[in-house]
């Protein structure tokens, strides 16, 4: 089972904890799609067989690659319980924009998960500020250090969630 770092009660009372992943990837060893597990499918697969997946009877998630356009999810965003954005390396930055767009423009309320070899403790803070609330850590990352990584800053210059102004942001610390 994969450990997942999760932010709970995002906001003033936010807590972080590590949970065992209750999601499965399509094609992962031992996954029985017929049993309708909570299932993450690649974006290309979702688009190719969209009618079939709309009728999937379990919780459904999608995995985006950096080049995937979130607009192409269309109204299916509201059907998804999870969207995973891939950070294949620490220098790949498109996932941050995917996260921001999903949260702010497409009002995605489900789990937004950062996945891939780039999900390392030093980037968790900015991922969180782009709307990610679940983190599938890259191999070798230490869970305790990852949990502490969110607490490095208690101030930030930019509105992380829709706010009206910089000024407002200046006087409300965010985590």
């Amino acid at each position: 089972m994969r450990p997942i770092v999760k932010r709970l009660n995002v906001g003033a009372l936010e807590q972080r904890e590590v949970v065992q992943d209750d999601w499965r990837y399509l094609g992962e060893e031992g996954v029985d799609v017929a049993a309708r597990p909570a299932l993450i499918v690649p974006f290309a697969e979702l688009r190719t067989n969209i009618a079939q997946w709309r009728d999937y009877g379990g919780r459904l998630g999608v995995r985006l690659s950096p080049a995937d356009a979130v607009e192409d999810l269309g109204e299916d965003v509201s059907r998804l319980a999870l969207i995973a954005a891939e950070f294949p390396s620490a220098g790949e930055g498109r996932g941050y924009t995917q996260g921001r767009l999903l949260r702010s423009r497409f009002e995605f309320k489900g789990e937004l998960r950062a996945v891939g070899a780039g999900v390392k403790q030093d980037l968790l803070f900015i991922m969180a500020r782009c709307g990610f609330d679940a983190f599938e850590l890259a191999p070798g990352q230490k869970v305790e250090e990852a949990l502490r990584a969110f607490e490095r800053y208690d101030v930030a210059y930019q509105p992380a969630e829709p706010l009206d102004s910089i000024r407002q942001q200046r006087f409300f610390a965010t985590g």
Binding site: R100, S104, L163, R170
Partner: protein, 551 residues
């Protein structure tokens, strides 16, 4: 100047603590070289030819004397008692120890300074006109807006891992003194018919391997929309900029590939879609930041002819190294970092300390860094210029060559930089020797030499009236010469005149080039004007004349 409040200070302090921990983990073997590289680059730390190089941010080139003293002190304690001012108005330390860098950053934080985002694929230090706030032709002081952008860009969560670096320059005057047209984004302050502040926005300029002049994406962007519009530009770039080839990853390549019209559509579409949820700059925030840039307490003074009756050396300094001021009775005075025999842009700890003391006495405790690698005392009483000159002369900082051929820009080159092909500093010294006669320099007038040790063009060679680029030919240093580049007024890119020349030939080739100018110029014509009138051909013939004779 801007003063941190407790939030600004907390941010920088927390950043230092974060980097201290990252450095500790690297030294303990918990981070690989590649992992640490991404993190250190966001704090201005390179691993160079001889040692790490730390690039300290000097936002829009403005320093308090307390900060300048601290820079001198840091250079003394952690380096070899000198620093190198760059074309992006920053300061580079060439010999710090990696282990010391967290302490250096902590020291910087005590004077409200940092090295955040001075390297790496992120939004870099915002630069501005060095005459901001004092220029006679200025629409408005650009520095408050630079500060607003600086804050917005600091650890921007969405734009910290861009395809490539991203540079913004802001000017407040019709005359572009910030090279804004060769920046990823150039912002030109304007007022609309009602007098409201806004910006003409240029995008996609840049030097490097593929020099391109920025194009107008928006004629007038109202100030409250500044950050939301930058957000839209950065977002389109972050999504669609190339990441497969480092040499094709700047925004200029994207703009060129899709064309400015389509790029504009993408940005405007993104901007409209995000407008309601993007940060608008409130009037109260603008006022808060602007209040830090109020003019100092100028005295009411008449203009005087400070040079009258003084010795010729002072008159020359006055003519070349001072500039008019919008307030009567004052002038701006350059601190020349271009003394012959010295590396362009270098300054010793002792000089920093002494200039800080001088600025405390005569220029309201502020110093500016220019993108041409000099310092500027912006607000000197005309009656005090003579004393300032005497003092600067004692310090070796009064070389009366600002705007002349030896006021050249040069990157650190092979002596320090691991990317360089060529020893630019050696060539700079060679040119200084060749053109050591001041009367000859003055006769040549306004000529800008810009020199880079490699294609990355840190020395802006593409936009030098005379550009010099170091190239490697089978392990030997050669120099390619371009003519006709410019960033002041009408920006143009230089044209290559022909085959590159050997290191020993650079200065003499330049002398032959300027001799062509001397014989071809018409009354009062500057080098760049003569070049534009007669074209590259006569210069080409002149530059290689001796080679032809020899053959």
């Amino acid at each position: 100047m801007y003063q941190y409040d407790q939030l600004d200070q907390a941010f920088v302090d927390q950043r230092v603590a974060e980097f201290r921990d990252q450095t500790r983990r690297f030294l303990a073997g918990e981070l690989t070289d590649d992992e640490f590289k991404l993190l250190r680059l966001r704090n201005g730390l390179y691993i160079q030819r001889h040692a790490p190089m730390l690039r300290i941010a000097i936002p829009y080139g403005l320093l308090s004397t307390q900060q300048l003293r601290k820079l001198g002190d840091i250079a003394h304690r952690y380096d070899r008692s000198f620093g190198h001012f760059t074309t992006r108005q920053n300061l580079q330390l060439n010999w710090p120890r990696l282990e010391d860098v967290p302490d250096i950053l902590a020291d910087l934080a005590t004077v409200q300074m940092h090295a955040i985002q001075t390297s790496g694929n992120c939004i870099r230090n915002v630069t501005a006109d060095h005459l901001a706030g004092i220029a006679q032709d200025e629409t408005d002081d650009p520095r408050p807006y630079c500060e607003i952008i600086r804050q917005w860009a600091n650890l921007h969560p969405e734009f910290t891992y861009l395809p490539r670096k991203f540079k913004i320059a802001v000017t407040g005057s019709p005359e572009d003194r910030a090279a804004s047209e060769v920046h990823d984004v150039g912002l030109h302050l304007r007022r609309d018919a009602q007098g409201n502040i806004g910006f003409q926005v240029l995008v996609g300029g840049g030097l490097g391997r593929t020099p391109i002049i920025g194009q107008v994406i928006r004629e007038f962007l109202p100030l409250p929309d500044l950050l939301s519009y930058l957000n839209a530009i950065l977002r389109v770039y972050n999504r669609y900029g190339r990441r497969d080839n480092i040499h094709k990853a700047r925004i200029k390549i994207l703009v060129k590939a899709v064309g400015i019209a389509r790029f504009r559509d993408q940005v405007e579409t993104e901007w409209r879609a995000a407008k309601d949820i993007s940060p608008r700059i409130e009037a109260a925030e603008v006022e808060r930041v602007r209040s830090f840039f109020k003019p100092p307490a100028y005295e009411s003074l008449p203009n005087i002819d400070a040079a009258a009756g003084r010795e010729p050396e002072f008159q020359a300094w006055y003519r070349y190294n001072t500039r008019p001021h919008k307030v009567s009775g004052y002038r701006a005075a350059f601190v020349s970092l271009k003394a012959h025999g010295q590396n362009p842009g270098d300054m010793s700890s002792g000089q920093m300390e002494a200039v800080a003391a001088l600025a405390d006495r005569v220029s309201f405790g502020l110093v500016r860094v220019t993108h041409t690698q000099n310092l500027l005392l912006a607000d000197v009483k005309q009656s005090e210029l003579y004393g300032v000159w005497q003092e600067l002369r004692k310090l070796g900082l009064a070389m009366p060559n600002i705007g002349t051929l030896t006021d050249m820009i040069a990157c650190p080159g092979l002596d320090f930089c691991s990317l360089a092909n060529a020893g630019t500093l050696k060539v700079a010294n060679q040119i200084q020797q060749q053109f050591d006669d001041l009367d000859y320099l003055y006769d040549l007038g306004d000529i800008e030499i810009k020199m880079s040790g490699c294609m990355n063009a840190c020395g802006h060679h593409h936009v030098g009236h005379i550009g010099i680029l170091g190239v490697d030919k089978h392990g030997e240093e050669w120099y390619q010469i371009t003519l006709g580049g410019s960033v002041n007024g009408s920006t143009s890119l230089g044209q290559v005149i022909g085959p590159s020349v050997a290191q020993a030939e650079v200065a003499s080739t330049i002398e032959r080039i300027v001799e062509v100018y001397r014989s071809e110029r018409e009354d009062g014509e500057r080098f760049i004007e003569t070049f534009r009138r007669i074209g590259v051909k006569p210069f080409k013939e002149g530059a290689y004349a001796t080679h032809c004779e020899a053959a």
